[in-house]
Symmetry: C2
Subunit: 157 residues, 2 copies
DNA sequence: CTGACAATGAGAATCATTCTTATCACAGAG
DNA sequence: CTCTGTGATAAGAATGATTCTCATTGTCAG
């Protein structure tokens, strides 16, 4: 599963470049910790915790401070190149945000812990409608569905 | 805003009784901390943090341990009498769950911090549809919209 | 009324995250 | 090319919410 080649329409390299130029545009300089974090995020196509990113970087032999991982992730979120996701377990997860502005939400299996992304134009439409009706300018939104994945459903027969 | 009388269809007392019998049915005994927490939750018609519940109880002169507040809140969530809400700021909030199963979600203003509940059958329908399509048995779901409330929108003219 | 066992409270322990601070590396001036 | 200012970095301390521990208290069944 680590091959990560192409069930997305854009190559992972595209996001890497996007992230780095976004940071540069925001006035940040480049550095070792930054490239490591960006490379690591690009490598995992699903969301990862700061701790996981840190561990993966250390595993690849690089020495990066945990605080630097958090700082870089915050900067990436601030420039919109990364999305912060929270599943309610007290840990933030991060995933690359496609430059085209598309986004998805997550299904979390309460039994096996698997996380699966999904998209739903209908859901997005409903959320947009709520914003209009409540006269709220909705800037971001989070939707997390908890339940049982197909593998963890008690199937009979 | 503390009068709290009746823009809901059911009296606060109804929920209090519901919560206590739900706990009893789950095999829990009653105690001082429990009644304090339930009473406090019933008093505030919007979501409150464990710390806020604790402070309010102490303010009323009762001596209740913070750990007990957390424990009782967990039990209430477990029996479905309370809903846990997370806005992504690292703090859990809790609010009474109506016995009739109805529920709402929240709009959070990023500027003034005000929280407003909303309901949207369309949104619920969309979520239900996602579960069907993904063959996921959705048991709970959380939706939080972040943005600007009407008061914090830059209005001109 | 009494025993068994859950509930409680105080503080310690844990865990993710943020802060502090000394050091480091790169960009531009000279 | 070398010097110097500024942002980046690493390590560990600090913070804050939540959970755990355990001695004690209170509840409820019999």
């Amino acid at each position: 599963m680590s091959s990560g080649r192409g069930h997305h329409h854009e190559p992972a390299g595209a996001w890497t470049g996007h992230a780095e130029s976004a940071l540069r545009a925001a006035g940040h300089r480049s550095g070792g910790a930054r490239s490591s974090v960006i490379a690591q995020l690009a490598a995992s196509d699903c969301c990862a915790t700061a701790q996981e990113v840190h561990d993966a970087i250390r595993a690849s032999g690089q020495r990066v401070g945990l605080a630097s991982v958090y700082r870089v992730l915050d900067q990436l979120v601030a420039v919109g190149a990364v999305t912060r996701v929270e599943f309610g377990d007290g840990v933030s997860r991060f995933e690359p945000a496609p430059p085209d502005g598309s986004h998805h939400h997550h299904l979390v299996c309460e039994r096996c812990g698997v996380v699966r992304p999904f998209e739903s134009p209908e859901l997005e439409r409903a959320i947009h409608g709520v914003g209009d009706r409540e006269r709220f300018r909705v800037e971001t939104h989070e939707v997390v569905l908890h339940g049982r994945c197909p593998d963890c459903l008690p199937k009979r027969a």
